[in-house]
């Protein structure tokens, strides 16, 4: 094997915080070779981003590198003076960040920002530099680069901004690329484009890539080697094949088990109990021992070393040292029809017909309406008691707006929402208030959804008091204790403030708040997308358990296909304000019919069982001016002339399934 381009040796990074010194990175060894992609995997707070930042010496003010070496072809970067280090950043090691909109300067044209790198690190000037920038933009797949050069970041979409970031990173032809969650802020179809671009560039230029990510699907798709981080240390390192076939560290195995998916529907997801230990203190034993169900007595006292198993698989675990490698994980099975009882043909709890939410665009002194944002443009749904309908789509497709409009948190522009027979759209404020008891919402961000100034008990009591649940304060207090127990929190949590809880616990509090008024329908607006995989598993388990016990109906709004596969009974796929396909989960996810659904499912990075790739070009158009005819036709690989003329009527393919696409009209005619 050739010598490593970048070698990290015993790197330790400390951060000074009010709680004391945090050992964010604690003895990390990692090697990157030419043309190789190493994925650094772990949950938030494990120190993977800090490792990447330490390599470039771009730590926050409170951070410092305590020891270790970072060798770039033999030169220790940590020993270089700052001036020499500036010549390394961008020139030899480049970095791309998670949030493209924050990494680009909003008042400079994007071309200037690429030219800056070219001027700093290459001898090219003037016309030649501009030509080089154009070439780079074309290489990263920015359409019409000559025009885009002079545009400002706000004129570009998220995907294009990330492409520009990559172009700027590659401008000086670096040898090493550090990518810190490069696609986390992007939609899944855009993510697929960016990942493909990165893979292509890596192969073409022989880049050494360090890919920091939390998504095992991306790891499976991109990496040649994998390193798993936990609590500031690398706990496992192996080639992709070894790692995916038989992950060795108990933490890695748990991560796989906690991933939701269709094949795990029958049972609860595996969870990792407890939390990542605080990194402020000294550790005696294994850092994972407290949460590990394989732990033996010795794990608590002896710090494990990194040992190589027979096939060169490195793992930091005493159990593996003693008992030898763990068995391969079973090949996950693809989605099959399940034997779950079909919903009784009861009347739907919630019936949405032709729901429209249009926001006016106002301009001028008199604030006249000059146009409409058609955020939701005529969707129809049915949800039955005890069932979960997943509303799936990319960001900006209007799914959250639809969810809020159904609860009348936003004014409707048209259509009807019948809840248990009553039309919510026409109810007055007072009658609507009474109906609010039956419908609740759980939000995405567990930090923004709880008032930091109220105690948990007050948060839970608020809705009960407002809607007159519980006769007296004493009774409400009993209910609060019961609710906390129901969502798996101790009763004394009621007297504490939200900031004392972790993200997952806060999401439990938000769920308890919704349950406090005994709703029958809960709108879950991406309730797990801000959480780590292991915490997500806990919340999904909780939601399923509550549904089974209380017979709740969920409207589950998400972009995470794996969660949908695990949880949903029915699925509706939204694109630009309209539903393009809906039906039971097996039908839609197992055999997608609409070209958009196919592309969406194919874009999801999967650990195993890759589907045929259907790559979507372009991005979601603006709902201010949606394409005429079928909204999807400009991106549709199978578009025909008639798609440009009118929105296709729904075609019923089975009793539970409809699709809005001209491709199925002929077959539908024979069906009906």
């Amino acid at each position: 094997m050739n010598a490593p381009t970048l070698a990290i040796e015993r790197l330790a990074t400390r951060l000074d915080t009010v709680q004391g010194e945090v050992r964010a990175v604690d003895g990390v060894d990692l090697e990157l070779r030419r043309g190789e992609c190493v994925a650094l995997v772990g949950e938030s707070g494990c120190g993977k981003s800090m490792t990447a930042l330490s390599v470039l010496r771009l730590l926050p003010e409170t951070g410092r590198i305590a020891e270790g070496r970072v060798l770039l072809e033999g030169t220790d970067l940590l020993a270089l003076p700052e001036a020499a280090m500036r010549a390394v950043r961008g020139r030899r090691i480049a970095m791309i960040f998670q949030e493209p909109s924050a990494a680009l300067n909003p008042v400079l044209a994007v071309g200037r920002q690429i030219l800056e790198v070219i001027r700093r690190h290459t001898p090219l000037r003037g016309r030649a530099a501009r030509a080089r920038a154009l070439e780079l933009l074309a290489q990263v797949g920015v359409p019409d680069p000559a025009r885009r050069m002079d545009e400002f970041p706000f004129q570009l979409s998220g995907g294009l901004k990330q492409r520009v970031m990559i172009a700027a990173a590659l401008a000086a032809e670096p040898e090493v690329l550090l990518a810190d969650e490069p696609t986390t802020a992007l939609d899944v179809t855009i993510q697929a484009q960016i990942l493909e671009l990165l893979a292509r560039l890596q192969a073409e230029r022989g880049l050494a890539v360090m890919l920091v990510t939390h998504d095992l699907g991306i790891v499976a798709q991109m990496a040649q080697r994998v390193a798993v981080m936990y609590a500031g240390q690398i706990v496992e390192a192996a080639s992709r094949e070894q790692f995916l076939r038989a992950p060795q560290h108990p933490y890695s195995r748990k991560l796989f088990d906690a991933l939701p998916g269709a094949e795990k529907r029958a049972a609860a997801l595996a969870v990792i109990p407890g939390q990542v230990p605080p990194l402020t203190g000294e550790f005696r034993g294994c850092r994972f021992a407290e949460r590990c169900d394989e732990a033996i007595e010795r794990c608590r006292w002896v710090a494990p070393r990194m040992v190589a198993l027979a096939d060169g698989h490195l793992v930091r675990c005493l159990v593996r040292e003693e008992k030898g490698p763990a068995a391969a994980v079973g090949e996950p099975t693809l989605l099959e029809a399940r034997g779950e009882p079909q919903a009784a043909a009861s009347a739907p709890l919630l019936e949405v017909r032709d729901l429209k939410v249009h926001f006016p665009i106002r301009r001028g002194v008199l604030r006249r309406t000059v146009g409409w944002v058609r955020a939701v443009d005529g969707i129809s749904l049915d949800i039955r008691a005890g069932r979960t309908l997943a509303l799936v789509g990319e960001s900006g497709c209007g799914k959250t707006t639809a969810g809020k409009a159904i609860l009348r948190l936003l004014p409707l522009s048209g259509g009807t929402v019948r809840f248990d027979g009553a039309d919510l759209a026409t109810l007055g404020r007072e009658r609507l208030r009474r109906l609010r008891r039956a419908m609740q919402i759980v939000f995405q961000d567990p930090y923004g959804s709880l008032n930091p100034r109220l105690r948990v008990g007050d948060i839970l009591a608020e809705g009960m008091r407002a809607l007159g649940v519980g006769a007296s304060d004493a009774e409400r207090e009993r209910r609060i204790a019961a609710l906390l127990e129901q969502v798996g929190l101790p009763a004394e949590a009621a007297a504490r403030y939200p900031h004392e809880f972790s993200g997952g616990q806060r999401q439990r509090i938000a769920i308890a708040r919704a349950l406090a008024v005994e709703p029958r329908l809960v709108v879950c607006d991406e309730p797990t997308s801000a959480l780590d995989v292991s915490v997500q598993a806990q919340i999904l388990n909780l939601l399923r358990e509550l549904q089974a016990r209380l017979g709740l109906a969920y409207l589950f709004i998400t972009h995470n296909i794996a969660v949908v596969e695990y949880l949903a009974h029915e699925v509706a796929v939204m694109y630009l304000g309209r539903i393009v396909e809906q039906g039971s989960a097996e039908e839609v996810l197992g055999a997608p019919k609409h070209p958009y659904t196919e592309a969406l499912l194919a874009a999801v990075p999967r650990i195993a069982g890759r589907r045929e790739r259907v790559r979507l070009a372009g991005e979601l158009p603006s709902p201010v001016d949606p394409p005429v005819g079928c909204h999807f036709h400009p991106r549709c690989p199978q578009a025909r002339a008639e798609c440009r003329e009118r929105w296709p009527a729904p075609v019923r393919l089975s009793p539970t399934r409809t699709v809005n696409c001209v491709l199925y009209r002929s077959s539908a005619a024979s069906n009906i």
Partner: protein, 456 residues
């Protein structure tokens, strides 16, 4: 006979509210935490010692009474029309010993020549001896020794006080080691070392000279402290409800409510502030002058004018706070916990009071502390222009106004201006330092930077 002036009442009320708020915070860790951060800064501790000294003077000057007149016979007791305060009672020497006209600090002779009768009979033009300043000296050559003796006495008292403070500091440090008590101690020591000799000297001299009509400047400066603090704090009492209510309503309800409130404050902001205040003050003065029967004493009328000035300042300066709060409420009303409250059918009034208000409280506190020094300075400017407090109320503005012409005399009468300047500078500087610390302690962004610290 005690006299309760309205501003006294309000000032004491504010002190009571402050103490109540402190006790409320002390029991709630999330409210106490930002204050704990504030008091971890040496500058904040030092500034609060200075502010406390000013507050003590102002409060002593806010307990008013009318002294009983010595009267023969057993008839009904009569009271003087003059209203005095506790401060006046503590410093009788300063209040009553007025000279004819200007005299320099610590002088024994007047600043202007007069015809004096010589002991031998004959008249000469000379600087006459002062009526009070240094009058106890038989021979003026003892002046230096007498001053030195008094300074030494004052320093002796100061040393005793500093010793007590050192003991207290040691105690406090043991209980709360994280607070930089040292800073407070040194500030106190400096204050004591200045104040004690000053008071010792004041018994026999005019420490900071006298003004045109012979009033002691040190006394005027002490009396001005109350005026400044009243303007700085009572104004906020007016400004606060208006600014907070309109600000969060505009941000929360949006639509026409927002439009209406925005138009009001944009209009108000476009009128030159001094002009608006001058017009309002003059109008109120005319009304008060027409109804002399409303006020029993001149002090009450002067106080009413002070209050009116506070109200007018309050009604013209709420716009900044309202605009800040509107922006914050706009942001908050989009947050998910507010939406969750809507979904739970919580009423607007409860959302405003339980969700919005507590979450903008830090902005209110920061704005109030920062406004304080601005208001103190505004009073000085207004009084200087002549539309501020009643001429009989002493304030830094009136002192400066009275002193400005005398600067052109040769040699100049500098001490009135210098005193007002020094007293005001120390007050405003302390208030600004404190405000900086409060902003840093309460600003969530600073907290994020400190916690950003956590591992990513």
């Amino acid at each position: 006979m005690p006299v309760v002036l309205v501003t006294d009442l309000l000032l004491w009320l504010l002190v009571a509210v402050g103490i109540g708020y402190a006790r409320y915070c002390a029991r709630r860790p999330h409210l106490a935490a930002p204050w704990a951060r504030v008091f971890r800064r040496p500058a904040a501790v030092a500034a609060s010692v200075v502010l406390a000294a000013y507050l003590v003077v102002a409060l002593a000057d806010s307990l008013h009474y009318r002294p009983a007149l010595a009267q023969g016979g057993a008839g009904a007791r009569a009271y003087s029309v003059e209203v005095l305060s506790l401060l006046d009672a503590l410093l009788p020497a300063l209040r009553t010993r007025s000279e004819k006209t200007y005299s320099a600090p610590l002088a024994t002779r007047s600043y202007a020549k007069e015809q004096v009768e010589l002991p031998g009979g004959g008249i000469a033009r000379d600087y006459p001896r002062l009526r009070w300043g240094g009058a106890h000296l038989a021979d003026e050559s003892e002046w230096a020794a007498d001053v030195a003796r008094r300074v030494a006495q004052g320093l002796g008292v100061a040393a005793a006080l500093i010793g007590l403070a050192a003991l207290a500091t040691r105690r406090l440090r043991r209980r709360r080691p994280e607070v930089p008590w040292q800073a407070g101690f040194w500030t106190f020591a400096a204050l004591a070392a200045l104040a004690c000799p000053a008071f010792a000297l004041a018994q026999g001299y005019h420490v900071l000279g006298t003004d045109k009509v012979g009033n002691d400047v040190f006394y005027l400066a002490l009396k001005s402290v109350r005026t400044s603090l009243v303007i700085g704090t009572v104004t906020t009492l007016v400004l606060l409800p208006v600014g907070v209510a309109l600000g969060i309503m505009a941000g929360y309800f949006r639509g026409w409510v927002d439009d209406a409130i925005q138009y009001v404050y944009t209009t108000l902001n476009s009128i030159p502030g001094v002009l608006l205040i001058a017009a309002s003050v003059l109008m109120m003065q005319v009304v008060m002058d027409r109804h002399p029967e409303w006020f029993a004493t001149a002090a009450e009328r002067a106080d009413a004018k002070l209050l009116v000035l506070c109200v007018i300042l309050g009604f013209t300066s709420w716009t900044g706070l309202a605009r800040l709060l509107r922006g914050e409420a706009l942001k908050l009303s989009q947050l998910e916990y507010i939406q969750a409250a809507h979904a739970l059918g919580v009423t607007h009034a409860r959302i405003l009071s339980r969700h919005i208000l507590p979450n903008v409280a830090h902005i209110v506190i920061i704005a109030l502390v920062m406004d304080f020094s601005g208001l103190v300075l505004a009073e000085a400017v207004l009084s200087y222009v002549g539309v501020g407090v009643d001429p009989s109320t002493s304030s830094f503005g009136t002192m400066i106004n009275a002193a400005r012409l005398e600067m052109s005399r040769e040699p100049p009468v500098w001490w009135t201006l210098a005193t007002a300047f020094a007293f005001m500078l120390v007050l405003v500087l302390a208030a600004n330092l404190f405000a900086d610390a409060v902003r840093d302690g309460f600003d969530p962004r600073v907290r994020v930077a400190a916690a950003g610290a956590g591992v990513r």
